[in-house]
């Protein structure tokens, strides 16, 4: 197979992948974010504590997560037809992709939102904020760096799943690698496809990490701090300095305690 033969195939496959992954990621974020927030809010001790709702959502998410994608895709065919009118092609693939990514992203959102300090929630409540205010002003903005990382992970996972959508004729890079590269022994094309996938995933991961780090640094300069700490502990001299400084502080702390005990009686003539 010559390059001129491969090029249009690769181009089409790239667009198909981006189209499917783009839409399904968008839907997954739009639906998974509220779902993940609900998982936190309805939990015991949450702002909208509701054990029944929490259990139900939790179970639905677990079932969604435990389904192998290819089975989910087949199981959802009826639903897919009712939504997009067909069960084959790019558009049809978006439905199962999105539905498998929603619970995946929801769990990641749950973990990210749980990390937000409860004190901040309390602070907004003490200002007279309601639950919606807490979600909008605290939970989402404060966990945004983690949420972006979660979205990145979801997109990368979706690119992996999208290879399987070839079975319903949706095209895409993964499908190209399987049909031409594997089944027709076009090894060259297969490796090119794999290379393109690797590059695409690297770019997405890099962009996601960059955005998350920028937000994080703005908020806490925490991106820079751990690295500095690592550098410092790396040099043995600095580490030794740190140890002596620590010794001095503990020594200083014990001194007033000793002075505190046993005041001597003073004679007044």
């Amino acid at each position: 197979m010559t390059w001129s033969e491969m090029q249009p195939l690769l181009e089409q496959a790239c667009w198909d992948t981006l189209y499917m992954v783009g839409w399904s990621a968008l839907i997954a974020v739009a639906a998974g974010l509220p779902l993940g927030l609900l998982l936190v809010l309805t939990d015991r001790g949450g702002l909208l504590q509701n054990v029944v709702v929490n259990k139900v959502i939790g179970q639905v998410v677990n079932i969604g997560r435990s389904m192998p994608f290819i089975i989910l895709m087949v199981a959802l065919m009826g639903f897919t037809r009712s939504v997009v009118g067909t069960t084959i092609g790019r558009d049809a693939a978006i439905v199962p992709l999105a539905i498998s990514a929603i619970p995946f992203f929801a769990r990641l959102v749950e973990t990210a939102v749980r990390e937000v300090d409860h004190g901040l929630v309390e602070a907004v409540q003490s200002m007279g904020g309601n639950t919606w205010t807490v979600v909008r002003k605290v939970l989402v903005p404060e966990s945004l760096p983690s949420l972006i990382s979660s979205a990145t992970t979801t997109v990368v996972a979706l690119i992996g799943y999208s290879a399987i959508t070839g079975t319903v004729g949706a095209g895409g890079l993964g499908d190209l690698a399987v049909r031409y590269g594997y089944q027709r022994f076009e090894t060259e094309l297969m490796w090119i496809t794999v290379g393109i996938l690797a590059v695409v995933i690297s770019i997405i991961q890099f962009a996601g990490d960059y955005a998350a780090r920028r937000l994080h640094r703005r908020g806490g300069q925490a991106g820079a701090a751990p690295r500095l700490k690592l550098l410092r502990s790396g040099t043995p001299k600095a580490a030794a300095d740190g140890a002596t400084a620590e010794g001095a502080t503990t020594g200083g702390a014990t001194a007033p305690a000793a002075a505190e005990s046993g005041p001597e009686p003073v004679k007044v003539p």
């Binding site: 702002l47 909208l48 504590q49 300090d117 004190g119 901040l120 309390e122 602070a123 907004v124 409540q125 003490s126 200002m127 007279g128 904020g129 309601n130 639950t131 205010t133 002003k137 605290v138 903005p141 404060e142 945004l144 937000l215 703005r218 908020g219 806490g220 300069q221 925490a222 007033p256 505190e260 046993g262 005041p263 009686p265 003073v266 004679k267 007044v268 003539p269």
Partner: protein, 361 residues
């Protein structure tokens, strides 16, 4: 301004019940700084959270500025509109500041104003005014992570004042700060109290905080208020645990046949040379075992533990002399009661002394 009556809070978890508040009656007058002091687990945090109903009391009522908040709360766990409106008129500062790390200092101060629904222009004007008031006008564009602990707490205070509250609740606001910063934050609270007529209810485990800013104080133990009153009242109360903790005195009798006396000076008497007068008048040698002098609520106050030779019966006259001078005199123990092996601190003072020591840490 703040009144709680019969406030009870019981936490239930896995069949176990923990009573955090056990019938607390608290009365904070308008315009005063009221300190609630107690050890960890005494129920202070539950108390202050019940005042703006961040925690729902199990029973009892909370009235702030004439409004019965417990009646506004409704039955469900979520805060209704009226309760939220009432909360927005009560400022609160926290031990760990609770600033949003994703917002600048100015945006943090604007947050309560956003909740109140002010326009963007008004918000930023007001936020800058408040930052100026707490002395952080130049940090408006900084992020909380770039500030020191004291500066963060100033932002917290500015934020708490944004809703123009009449009441400020302070939940261990200085407990995460070093002594010097603590003093400056307390000074700021004092100034705000005077300038804005703000009523401040603060909880703390540090006696110094009470000493520095409080007009009134209450001591909490195991969910109950054990003692309360204005600081000068407390000092004038014989055997007051709070007074003893404010001025911890230690020192044991140096031998048999001695009388240990605790003398409290306040008001006029603080300026009189009573000890040397006593010594000259009765020709007795007096040992000072321990003494503390300080300014409490703007007044010079002191306590001194002295030792007189002879049994209590022999010292009735000199003690009477001290009382005549307008001093408050507590005889720490009678000569014939208990042993002399250094255990001359009366039992009820133990917890208060432990408290004072915890505060010193």
């Amino acid at each position: 301004m703040i009144t709680t009556s019969g406030l009870t809070k019981v936490y239930r978890s896995r069949g176990r019940e923990v009573t955090a508040l056990d019938g607390v009656d608290l009365h904070v007058r308008e315009g005063e700084v009221y300190g609630v002091i107690g050890q960890s687990g005494a129920g202070k945090s539950s108390l202050i959270r019940c005042v703006n109903l961040l925690e729902r009391p199990s029973s009892g009522t909370v009235t702030v500025a004439g409004q019965d908040l417990t009646a506004l709360a409704g039955r469900g766990p979520r805060a209704g509109k009226e309760l939220r409106a009432a909360r927005s008129r009560i400022g609160m500062v926290f031990q760990h500041f609770n600033l949003l790390s994703s917002r600048t200092v100015q945006d943090n101060v604007e947050l309560p104003l956003e909740i109140l629904g002010l326009s963007g222009k008004e918000r930023s004007r007001k936020a800058l005014d408040l930052l100026d008031l707490v002395g952080l006008a130049d940090k408006a564009k900084a992020y909380p992570a770039q500030l020191s602990g004291g500066q963060k707490q100033r932002v917290g205070i500015a934020r708490a004042l944004a809703g123009e509250p009449k009441v400020l609740l302070s939940d261990e606001a200085t407990s995460a700060l070093d002594p010097e910063t603590t003093r400056s934050i307390l000074q700021l609270l004092r100034d705000l109290n005077r300038q804005l007529g703000l009523t401040v209810l603060l909880i703390t485990h540090e006696m110094d905080v009470v000493k520095t800013v409080c007009d009134s104080a209450a001591l909490m133990e195991r969910g109950r208020i054990v003692e309360s009153g204005t600081v000068s009242e407390l000092l004038a109360t014989p055997g007051s645990q709070l007074a003893a903790a404010l001025f911890p005195l230690s020192g044991a009798a140096s031998g048999d046949h001695r009388t240990v006396v605790d003398v409290t000076f306040h008001g006029e008497a603080a300026t009189q040379p009573v000890i040397s007068q006593l010594s000259r008048t009765y020709n007795i040698d007096i040992s000072i075992l321990g003494a503390a002098m300080d300014t409490v609520a703007g007044k010079q106050v002191g306590r001194m533990r002295i030792e007189l030779p002879g049994r209590f019966e022999e010292n009735v006259v000199p003690i009477g002399f001290l009382r005549e001078q307008g001093l408050q005199v507590d005889v720490a123990e009678h000569d014939d009661a208990a042993g002399h092996d250094g255990e001359d601190v009366p039992a009820p003072r133990d917890s208060a002394l432990a408290l004072a020591k915890e505060g010193a840490k």
